[in-house]
Symmetry: C2
Subunit: 138 residues, 2 copies
DNA sequence: CATAAATTTATAACGATTCTAAAGTAGAGT
DNA sequence: ACTCTACTTTAGAATCGTTATAAATTTATG
């Protein structure tokens, strides 16, 4: 079974029809060794650079939101002009390089155990994210 | 010396002319016991509710950016449609209530000491922020 | 093939933020 | 107090990432 069929199967089993647009985006996002961070604009540029048959921007947004809702992508909380997504959906943290405007993974094991010693009545914790902003040394 | 003069003096000593718009915003932001979080829209509404002589939206943006650059306000890193500001400029962390879309302070002492065990060559740490997303219990 | 539901698409709309350029104001010097 | 200049305010336009719309196309199913 080739990649196309694997992705098609995965999409189908998630209740998403395996269109050629979605499979192309799957290949770009998930058919690689390492996870990575991207913006919609990054992705749009990647698509344009590898193919002649382009995908409409609306479809890119639709697809990324669908993948995020299915848990295949994570949206990173960073106050920026653009939204960042992450193909690494495990619990982990980030450096944000303010010069390159780029996210870098910070594994759970690189961050001391975080214990929140305060509770909010009627609320439960959904996630705990650490963002370490870095800038050039000089 | 009344509040107006105190704020005027503070503005002047920061290299900002104490205009009536800036002093009005100072009173709203800093003339209170507790620090708080707000968006530009929140602030605009507050201004409209306490006074008849309104301040143009452009001036509100200008002023908030000036105050932030002078270190009187902090911008909170949260991926939202709007930018959140904080009159608490000390090192601290946040809960973000996803139902109310509201920030709540999380004191340094309520978060276990954070030790980042990874370094990036040529980069230095500018800030470490913990964001704890919470939702309603039910 | 027939049909219904899902998807894609181009384009419009939206909304937060920034830009522009003209009018107004504050502080320094005279 | 008058002048000058730099700073500030302002309304409105522009920008730009994102979302909504509605028509055309594609997919899944019988
Ligand atoms: Mn920002
Ligand atoms: Mn968002
Ligand atoms: Zn990551
Ligand atoms: Zn705070």
């Amino acid at each position: 079974m080739n990649n196309k069929d694997i992705f098609a199967e995965k999409l189908r089993s998630s209740g998403l029809r395996p269109t050629k647009q979605r499979i192309k985006i799957c290949k770009l996002l998930f058919d690689r060794k390492d996870t990575f961070h991207f913006t919609i604009n990054d992705l749009n540029n990647s698509i344009k650079s590898i193919t002649t048959e382009q995908i409409s921007l609306a479809t890119i947004y639709n697809t990324i939101h669908a993948f995020k809702n299915k848990g295949y992508l994570k949206e990173i909380s960073i106050n920026s002009d653009k939204t960042y997504f992450d193909t690494n959906v495990s619990n982990h943290h980030h450096f944000f390089d303010e010069n390159k405007r780029q996210l870098i993974d910070l594994d759970d094991k690189h961050v001391g155990k975080i214990k929140i010693k305060k509770t909010l009545p009627g609320k439960k914790i959904k996630s705990i994210e650490v963002l370490v902003k870095v800038v050039n040394n000089s």
